[in-house]
Symmetry: D2
Subunit: 406 residues, 4 copies
Amino acid sequence: MANVTRKIINDPVYGFITIDHPLLFQIIAHPYYQRLRRIHQMAFASLVYPGAVHTRLHHSLGAYHLMCCALGELKNKGVAITAEEELGAKIAILLHDIGHGPFSHALEKTLIEKMHHEKISLLIMQRFNEIFEGKLQLAIDIFTNKYNKPFLHQLVSGQLDVDRMDYLTRDSFFTGVSEGVIGYDRILKMLTVHNDELMVEEKAIYSIEKFLVARRLMYWQVYLHKTVLSAEMMLVKVIARAKELVKNGVQVDCSTPMLDFFLHNPSASDDLENHLDKFCLLDDTDLVSTFKKWMFHQDKILSFLSTSLINRRLYKLKLSPDPIDPVLEKTLKEKICNTLSIDENDAEYYVFSGEAINTTYDPTEESINILFKDGSVKDISQVDNALIHRNLSSPVKKHYICFLNV
Amino acid sequence: MANVTRKIINDPVYGFITIDHPLLFQIIAHPYYQRLRRIHQMAFASLVYPGAVHTRLHHSLGAYHLMCCALGELKNKGVAITAEEELGAKIAILLHDIGHGPFSHALEKTLIEKMHHEKISLLIMQRFNEIFEGKLQLAIDIFTNKYNKPFLHQLVSGQLDVDRMDYLTRDSFFTGVSEGVIGYDRILKMLTVHNDELMVEEKAIYSIEKFLVARRLMYWQVYLHKTVLSAEMMLVKVIARAKELVKNGVQVDCSTPMLDFFLHNPSASDDLENHLDKFCLLDDTDLVSTFKKWMFHQDKILSFLSTSLINRRLYKLKLSPDPIDPVLEKTLKEKICNTLSIDENDAEYYVFSGEAINTTYDPTEESINILFKDGSVKDISQVDNALIHRNLSSPVKKHYICFLNV
Amino acid sequence: MANVTRKIINDPVYGFITIDHPLLFQIIAHPYYQRLRRIHQMAFASLVYPGAVHTRLHHSLGAYHLMCCALGELKNKGVAITAEEELGAKIAILLHDIGHGPFSHALEKTLIEKMHHEKISLLIMQRFNEIFEGKLQLAIDIFTNKYNKPFLHQLVSGQLDVDRMDYLTRDSFFTGVSEGVIGYDRILKMLTVHNDELMVEEKAIYSIEKFLVARRLMYWQVYLHKTVLSAEMMLVKVIARAKELVKNGVQVDCSTPMLDFFLHNPSASDDLENHLDKFCLLDDTDLVSTFKKWMFHQDKILSFLSTSLINRRLYKLKLSPDPIDPVLEKTLKEKICNTLSIDENDAEYYVFSGEAINTTYDPTEESINILFKDGSVKDISQVDNALIHRNLSSPVKKHYICFLNV
Amino acid sequence: MANVTRKIINDPVYGFITIDHPLLFQIIAHPYYQRLRRIHQMAFASLVYPGAVHTRLHHSLGAYHLMCCALGELKNKGVAITAEEELGAKIAILLHDIGHGPFSHALEKTLIEKMHHEKISLLIMQRFNEIFEGKLQLAIDIFTNKYNKPFLHQLVSGQLDVDRMDYLTRDSFFTGVSEGVIGYDRILKMLTVHNDELMVEEKAIYSIEKFLVARRLMYWQVYLHKTVLSAEMMLVKVIARAKELVKNGVQVDCSTPMLDFFLHNPSASDDLENHLDKFCLLDDTDLVSTFKKWMFHQDKILSFLSTSLINRRLYKLKLSPDPIDPVLEKTLKEKICNTLSIDENDAEYYVFSGEAINTTYDPTEESINILFKDGSVKDISQVDNALIHRNLSSPVKKHYICFLNV
């Protein structure tokens, strides 16, 4: 791919994605990047939405495409953006998710403890910066919001960034949940820059409302769907059990050397720079194939959880606006212990509770600014007849109880 | 078409629409129905959204298609619906808009005074009932909500009827405003009947929210778009001028005999039953061709308004949350009178103000009921963490001033 | 619109169309151009495909959009195109259909005799060139293929021009005949220029095959659909009857002065330059409203044909690979004369035959050249394993007989 | 899922898929079926088309959905189909691909020697028939074409079966190659049965042509794309190398016990009935995770091929209408042996040639019959003005050479 000057990639969502700079080719062709082909964007959502098997690589390319569009629109409107800044912003978005591990958010901080994926993305960008002799410095500055044109960072990471625009659009497309569709093309056309900050024009207000409502819908209908949540919590449990067994000296073999390393060296996450090559070989297949191995493990719990995930025999999960009644949880645990002859201490692998939280729009965190024709600026929650109001700014918390239905 | 037993019609929105009953063929083939081909669904919206040239006939067929789907789903769920009721509901929706005159809502009560289109629809349904020897009685009972299964009427006309579902879907499709897209197929699958009332299942809550927000967006972005509003108000003005001239004895010829009749016999609307044949020949082309004739009329105002509409030279329209300042309006009128040497009394044809109103969701009027798994029923505005809240239930009023920009 | 510098138009087919030059605004805003809003792209196809009500204006804007894309792609590939040439090509395509009269092809050479629409387009472009002080000269040179970069003309008018790409895409979209969909975006990306001629890259071969097959399908399934053909032939007949009556001194009033002029002055078409203002006021509504007037004309034939068209009571049409048997035609005519007490000479208004012709690909007329990687050029019909072969290059002729079914 | 009576599944291609019979639930919920979630429909096509990561499970559900539609249409047309036959045909299509192993066609007969996937599908259907106490007998009879209504088998497997309709539609959707789109909904509506054979109505001719041309395009543009072909041939090579090493007594560990078994017991394929449980645990992840393990194997070739596949460093592949020149192949092999110090016998792992074959339409194998209105039947290649002609009935053979570019 190195000596090509322009490459187009078919994308069912946007039609064609164009790559037109040698450094972009080199980054995409790198094994660290190709790994993203093997990480599903939506973890176990495909257990409910069978089409949702698209990958982090696909999402990253999609967000890159929207970045190209956004920069093009802004330049057309007279916003000064140099060729270097353009390349920097494109690289920053291309790499924004490179630090995701297997099953992305679902296993974040579980497999690799303590490390948020954005930190790992930064580590990998720095490694690329060494490999490509400093050519990623501007991208890193934009990614870490140290560059003096904040709107470039806001395009990568903000309430209205191209990351969100792509994942909502793409997840909605691949799940078939047409209601998650947002007017990304209209929003892109309405983007503008005022005092170096990213804003949207007045006439995009309804599109922005729609964008926030679509996200709200996608959270409750898809990302936090009770079956998806159940599968993803079981995923956390199977890793927790494996770690516990390792700690207790039980032999637990993974299917690949990379996963073996991280399972048996939890402290590696304190020192990830030195294990980056190994991390960058981890993906969803290490886990899935390992579960297929653990189906035959002598530990009943590890084997049960692994088999259940592979065969899609998922725990029941109930959502409730109110906290879970501890008595209910205790009763369910006792029942499971009796039925399956399980030790009381192990009941937590079969019955557990937790919280699912989502905020539709929190203006105190990061705001969406509307630039009016008269030059004034208002937050989207402050415009006349705002849909996005008090009631959407506080997080919605739902409680769940998840249990093996015996 | 009479001896065909099944006909499929290509529809870009739903793929194929199937007509499979002789009475449906006969109704559709009737000249009264074919007239709907010549009435644009969205009046002058195509002046802003060039794709929005679809017709009332197309919308009516689309709503009919959704009715077929809805009835099919309900029957699959065990709701008792007889073949007669099914046919009745299909006819009722097929004919729900048959009473629309030229330019639909934009000219409603202007050309044919005092008569709401639903009343005229009923008149025509009664006429059809005579023609088809009583076979439309059940359809009429459903349409007028006299039938003892209210959910059938609610499918035709209610907060969540197939009429709205089709027009939002279709208008969004033809304008290209993708943000107006609703999950009609999901909503249809979630419809249910409880105590003979139409309800939706609990898991459709987010789809319903989305539906209401999409409608809100379509109103402000499309139906009440300032340029569309300007054109449609100018349409009202040109008819008003023609009527005034007629009253003053000036000769005003229309391009067709049907329009001539109604323009010169305003009292005909008191007695529409007796002029139904003439009404059922009126459509958008009578008006457009008449404006092309009036471009050459000696009355300066009639000619100016007609020419402006034909050539898309529209008045400027400004929307404002606050009432229009009467001083501003007066100043604009004086300016126009001076510039164009117009009589003060005629200034209202060049400068005028008004209100555009839309309510996102008014639970006091007609409610959307959610049926929970435990059998309880709640209004959509009463569920936990409702998006559809106080702030959406009161009507939003925007004030506008519309004027020739000289 | 004059002082705007950039305007985006929603298009359900392509998303957004951008207009970004003052001259383009001025042309589009001109009444001559706005007239295209009132001419259906597909004449009476909407009688079969109810969604096919899109307009010549919409098609022209769409073809303009594809021209913008094509020029952008070619420039990205290093083809030298100046800003003037770009504007010229955009204007040429924007105006390529401006000369169409009411019902486009269906009435071509019937209402305005002898004049092909491209000739009239040229007349109007020359008029615009006067109005805009010579600024359209380059556009005219491109349109008439006098400019020294033939590929610009080929983009406007050739086997693979943006006109065809848009009408196939758009007609397929609005009819809902998804099989007419072509990969216009892929073809655009594969366009290239070699020796100043437009070509396509080797890897587009299958897309081109697909394009030609889609066109073939659209012709036989849509454009020459038997019901559409019947309606359009009846349209020709009603005009023929009106002209015959006028010639015989019968009073035949049209609904508008413009149509009246052309009906009563057939020689005006010899001298169209001098009647351009009148021609540029003609559109579909003149005819439809006139038919509604003629429904009440005392001439039985004029009235019958007008009423039939308005009420969609269409003649039966049968297609056949073989010529129509004259005996059959004669028998049908005799039957109609007897049944309806019609004069033998008038039978041709009720029974007539003709031919529908379409050629899938004729390499002798205008060729599609494939540029291979080794620099060689081959016609699409000459590549290995060509689908587009002898059997597609000769015109397919179908014979029809069209008659009132009594 | 067992006690649910109706379940809808979101599908981005068709909207919703409905499952409404307990036996269908039980089959889908079975681990044998869930395994299909982990087999990509298009093997390595996603290396070129990143969206093409959909699974065999999704395709099987999609084909099932089209079967439901097809049966519904036929019943509406009066074709006699009992409830048992309907269920049988649905089960047959649901299970038609259950016998596919990892990477489907790409590894067919390589990993499990000698066994075509349809034979394995039959084995598994027979196993299900035991599990579900004979309830699958009719499905098996339809699948093996022993049932006395051949059209049911033809819907499962024939020139115009729902399998092809789904894979063309779905592969086109997920790759984003819009040109592969077929009018499946129109074809379904045109299906008919004549003398118990499946046919299509006359007016579907152009849709069928389109279908065959779309398939031709998908083959050459997607399925046999040179990069896809290269990756899939490298996949065959890595398995071949592993088998060779095993035969030579070198230790080759796989990442999972299931794959280990089949790699070390090639004779198991002679006796697959007895190893069905192990086979039904094999999927793509066994192979991918094993390649990640083999990246570190001491055998240079095994390691090189594995690393290349994981990192998408693919061999160059050239297609040619003519056979590959043996001198060229020899020269390339010598070059590679010299450059990489490879033994002459091993050169075949780095340089190899072969053939890619596709037939657009072979009427001698299985025909597509058109039923004309007069009751006559013709093969699609025999109708007037057929596009599908001699030139499409003979197979197109392309030769390729694939080599490491050093």
